[in-house]
Symmetry: C2
Subunit: 340 residues, 2 copies
């Protein structure tokens, strides 16, 4: 982040027509946005949500409440024509409300997805291998998906996006996210494994066992190795989106737990990525709090979201635009002639 | 609220293409919005923030960190021409970001405010009397301001507002808000008195003493008597806005502690008002949590705001519009042909 702009924003914030600190967390968010955009009066505009979809070999182990067939069905839902406009999923409805552009990427769905002009095709495999028994993907495939995510981020930025929300869909993907988080933060599977879309106690315990077995299989700690061994194609793509957005000095709104696993790889590779990450809400997955503590970042709300798709990130966009607007547009006490 | 629409929304929510409960608190918010608008697919649109300003006799006792002259200066700030558009205060910048209309009312400012086409004149007095030593206002003045607030709410609704944010400006007004809250919830002043715009420990302790003295002065419990004895003109106006918005089946976004004191009077007079209240954030004033507990309502975020002006309410508007959009626009599992 731009240190001079950050300092200038801090000084400006102190002169605006409000009691010091009265805008609460919005003030610190505004100052961070100044650092991202390199000006004390940041004016971010377009919002884009980039939803990457992928399937997971480990889903065959019964780690999810839903069958893997839901992944391609939800991709179709993201693209469907509806009376309200394109897309019948939550992320579509939320994106229409806040004026965000939705991009949908096949990062490795286990189905022959029908052609659609709005579908970005980046799949190299139809789903990962089962991470419990071997590497989820090759390093080459992982790196290809990172580059595909980066390319999509560039496209969104070229189309005007200043705030990017990497999002995901992939039945079973809280399992790779938990495995990656456990390894990268050196935690036990139990500390980072949650109910995902809603597994019961028995399946949750099974999910922990599966993740422990995977972690016991290999001792890799190199971030990209962790991604390839335990990750998912949509997670690799989101990593690429994050790195590219930061490199082009754009905001990455960090949605949930799966997104957080990509962010952990990202900050391990490039610590300055952190300056560009803005967590949306604290999601209901237990491992999410551990990720945010590691990133030393505070979420904007606690609405108990656990949907994925980038949905929480889209909800957070107006808060960030507002934080920037307050910093940019408010008058100072001097400008307003108000005694202090 | 409309019980049939509420039930229909609950049934619809369960069929939407997401895991049950995955949209967290947005789901309950969507269902409440269905109750307000009488349809399982609510489509609220316009947002208006109605900022009432008033001065307070008790400010002479030194209960605020700012001099009373700041009230008229901030009214001028709400109306000022700036390079970004009308208004140089936080609420203006936030309202521009979310597309909310701003209305500004002189409910009883202690100054000769210059004419301005956008200023709604409703003042009957130039500030209240000092509530420590006597009634802040007459019942007749209180009732007149309630009616003026209602009239402004009708005007905003006629101009297309479905979501109304009563907001306030008035140096010293967390003192009347605390006194009203203490009396209406039968709490000690200490439990509901906070730092407002930022008083230090000594002044906070003095503020508690002032409020205790006021409470000891009279035993009134009738809600409108509590308003007249301890309240403020802008609080009376916000009460009128809330009652009118609810009567016309519109949403009231409840911003902070001062707004909450008006809401407590409102639900005491008309318990169904509660169905139309949507608290924005939990504000930093300690009495706010007691108000929300009494209302049995949960705030949407915890950003530590303590500015007033309706600023938090404006920030919450996109979340409510999003909750409605998800309920209204998402496809059902059956529509999307997804196995459940």
């Amino acid at each position: 982040a731009d240190a001079a702009a950050t300092e200038a924003a801090r000084a400006r914030q102190a002169q605006l027509t409000k009691p010091a600190g009265a805008l609460g967390d919005l003030e610190a968010l505004g100052i961070r946005l100044a650092g991202v955009f390199g000006t004390a009066r940041p004016h971010p505009q377009g919002v884009a949500v980039l939803v990457a979809a992928g399937d997971h070999g480990v889903a065959a182990d019964g780690v999810s409440a839903y069958p893997a067939e839901v992944t391609p069905a939800m991709v179709a839902n993201f693209l469907a024509e509806t009376p309200a406009g394109p897309g019948g999923a939550a992320v579509n409805a939320l994106a229409r409300t806040v004026g965000a552009q939705v991009y949908v990427m096949d990062a490795g769905v286990n189905a022959a997805l029908p052609d659609h002009p709005a579908l970005v095709r980046a799949a190299r495999q139809r789903g990962t291998a089962n991470l419990r028994v071997g590497a989820a993907m090759t390093r080459a495939d992982a790196e290809a998906l990172v580059l595909a995510g980066a390319a999509l981020a560039r496209r969104a930025i070229r189309s005007g996006a200043d705030l990017l929300v990497p999002g995901e869909m992939g039945i079973g993907n809280t399992t790779p996210a938990a495995a990656m988080t456990a390894r990268l933060l050196n935690l036990d599977a139990l500390q980072v494994t949650g109910r995902g879309t809603g597994v019961d106690d028995e399946r949750l315990s099974h999910k922990v066992t599966v993740i422990r077995e995977a972690l016991a299989r290999t001792a890799v700690t190199d971030p990209l190795d962790v991604l390839a061994e335990f990750g998912g194609f949509e997670i690799a793509a989101m990593l690429g989106m994050m790195l590219q957005a930061a490199a082009l000095r754009r905001v990455v709104i960090l949605d949930g737990f799966v997104e957080g696993s990509a962010a952990l790889v990202g900050v391990a590779l490039a610590p300055h990525l952190r300056d560009f990450l803005f967590p949306a809400g604290e999601c209901a997955e237990i491992g999410h709090a551990a990720q945010l503590a590691h990133l030393e970042l505070k979420p904007m709300f606690r609405l108990g979201l656990r949907l994925g798709e980038g949905s929480g990130g889209v909800l957070a966009a107006p808060l960030l635009l507002s934080a920037a607007a307050a910093l940019r547009e408010m008058r100072t006490f001097a400008e307003a002639g108000i005694p202090t």
